[in-house]
């Protein structure tokens, strides 16, 4: 590796790194430091910041609405991660099994990777609309009263379904690569031993795919926590009665509906800890399985 280091001008390397480092410091590190600082202040529009110590954090510890939002986010992430991974794994398996039309099947299930969440949200709002939706009639025929503008659990399901749908593409992209890496000889042996269908997926492919699946659990959890904002904003605005008020939406409202920058910053710091914990888990797991990948 050292043989690749063919240049040694300090000035040149400094200039090459400069743009990335400057933007990182100014727009990534500095705002994060600011968030930590502001979290110790009472801060909002048009008034001088007042130092309040840990008061904002204390408020979060005792705020039962915030606790509900934390629990809701965990539940939402669990449902979305489990849903996305189950559907994607099965889809990937089916695509892996067929020997004609693989390319076409693949592109027709990975395209949601490119789907803008805002578009996904509006399309879902339209097809599942309680009075106008195409799907509303057929679902009500099954005996369910579609009323997710007022019914919390139903709203939760609609947002989760939309979020799952959008994330299928990304998961299949990684899963198909991992499944194609399973040696053909292993598949053949399993087939000759009469291990067919789902059993082969569960007891042969999944164990070999563990590193990829762990990676996806972390990525999907981060997605469920942070990248589903547009779904919540456009489908339910966190309602009805906070049934879909996940942390990222709660933070947005704290900052930009109520303009409590102090409390909002404390909530940002909490989210930072969430990302940190998830990344740490990922590093640990990747370390543990690194010899698999090679």
């Amino acid at each position: 590796m050292s043989t690749r280091e063919i240049f040694d001008s300090r000035i040149e390397s400094g200039l090459l790194l400069l743009p990335t480092l400057v933007v990182s410091v100014v727009f990534l590190y500095y705002p994060t430091a600011m968030a930590v600082r502001t979290s110790f202040f009472d801060s909002s529009f048009g008034q001088a910041d007042e130092f309040v110590g840990l008061e904002n954090y204390a408020a979060l510890v005792t705020d039962s609405a915030y606790h509900s939002s934390v629990l809701l986010s965990v539940l939402f992430a669990a449902v979305v991660v489990a849903g996305v991974m189950a559907v994607s794994l099965y889809l990937t398996f089916l695509i892996h099994e067929v020997d004609t039309g693989q390319g076409v099947y693949l592109i027709s299930v990975i395209w949601p990777y490119a789907l803008p969440p805002a578009v996904g949200a509006l399309v879902f709002l339209f097809i599942a609309h309680p009075t106008l939706g195409v799907l509303t009639g057929p679902i009500e025929a099954l005996g369910v009263d579609v009323d997710w503008f007022n019914d919390g659990p139903q709203a939760f399901v609609v947002v989760a379904l939309a979020a799952i749908w959008k994330q299928i593409g990304y998961n299949v992209i990684f899963m198909i690569a991992a499944m194609n890496n399973v040696p053909d000889t292993l598949t053949e042996t399993a087939r000759l031993d009469g291990v067919s269908g789902l059993r082969r997926l569960v007891s042969v492919y999944v164990p070999i795919m563990t590193p990829t699946l762990f990676f996806l659990v972390v990525i999907n959890t981060i997605y469920a926590f942070f990248s589903t904002f547009a779904f919540v904003d456009l489908l339910t605005s966190g309602g009805p009665s906070n049934a879909t008020n996940i942390l990222i939406f709660d933070l947005y409202q704290e900052g930009f509906s109520f303009f409590n920058f102090g409390v909002a910053s404390a909530k940002s710091v909490v989210l930072f800890l969430v990302v940190g914990a998830l990344m740490l888990v990922q590093f640990r797991v990747t370390d543990e399985y690194s010899y698999y990948g090679a």
Binding site: I6, S13, T20, F27, A114, F225, F229, L234, Y252, F261
Partner: protein, 294 residues
């Protein structure tokens, strides 16, 4: 009676055996059927959107209403011109292109420094860049909003592009790729007395075409689909991007001034650029994802 059961069981076993021998030869028609159903489910919401965007009104209450209408030209013209979607699309395109080009140049520089230069504390520098993975927009949008106000960048293209230019992911993918270029080629270049600029332009970039295309698509999809940050920082319609423009259209629908067919036309327009890019460049895109995971 037991004999009959025995007979039936043998029959079922025979059928089972038939099915499993079939999977040895190739996928059963059942696999294709399941794939068809699942692909249909994944494509259905967007297919509805496209169909509705061609109809006079957005009223589609039963599956029988899902026949294309003849108002496509009318609807798309109205969305693009009367509802300024042309403007939003243009703003989105400008934002995405600036982010893609900016990120690409800045990240190629940084990755080149990290791989081909002898730098003191190299691991520390690389870690400093990687650590920004812990600081996604959701963690810092509150202080970033204040920073943009202080800089006077609110409501400008600078606000929605510059903070995205530093990219740990892109630097990481490029570094991985550079490390896979044989060291012998690099050493030959050095022996030939090739300077850093010529090395980058005539050795590095030509050997990285696939990855550069792949990361560009990833960056474009990411940039184009941004919703939360433009929603917060852009507050004039003239500078707004398509994702948030959709939200404005939807607001008009709730107000009863607009038909759903226009919202679906807007949604279809917003979906097209990332979707087309992904389909056209799927091969380099999938290869690049493979690098990312390693």
């Amino acid at each position: 009676m037991p004999a009959l059961l025995q007979y039936a069981k043998r029959g079922v076993d025979a059928l089972r055996r038939d099915r499993s021998t079939e999977t040895v030869r190739g996928a059963s028609p059942g696999t294709h059927l399941q794939l068809w159903v699942l692909v249909l489910a994944v494509v259905f919401p967007v297919a509805v959107a496209v169909i509705v965007s061609t109809k006079e009104t957005g009223v589609v209450t039963s599956l029988g209403d899902l026949l294309p209408g003849s108002y496509a030209v009318e609807n798309y013209r109205e969305a693009l011109v009367d509802y300024r979607f042309g403007r939003f699309m243009w703003n989105s395109l400008a934002m995405s292109l600036v982010i893609v080009v900016g990120k690409l140049v800045v990240s190629v520089f940084a990755a080149m420094a990290v791989v081909y230069y002898r730098i003191p504390y190299k691991d520390l520098v690389f870690l400093f860049i990687l650590f920004t993975l812990l600081l996604p927009v959701p963690v810092r949008f509150v202080p970033l909003f204040q920073l943009m106000n202080d800089l006077g960048w609110s409501n400008t293209i600078l606000a929605i592009t510059v903070p995205y230019v530093a990219s740990a992911t892109t630097v990481f993918i490029l570094r991985q790729h550079f490390l896979s270029i044989p060291a012998s080629i690099v050493e030959t270049a050095k022996l030939d007395g090739v300077g850093p600029l010529r090395f980058m332009l005539f050795v590095l970039l030509p050997m990285s075409k696939g990855v550069l295309v792949g990361v560009s698509i990833i960056m474009f999809v990411y940039a184009w689909n941004q919703y939360l940050w433009p929603l917060i920082i852009i507050d004039s319609e003239a500078n707004q991007v398509a994702q948030v423009g959709l939200q404005l259209l939807q607001g008009d629908v709730q107000g009863g001034q607009l038909s759903w067919s226009l919202v679906m036309a807007g949604s279809t327009l917003t979906l097209l650029p990332p979707l087309l890019l992904m389909i056209v460049f799927r091969k380099p895109l999938l290869k690049t994802f493979n690098i990312q995971q390693k």
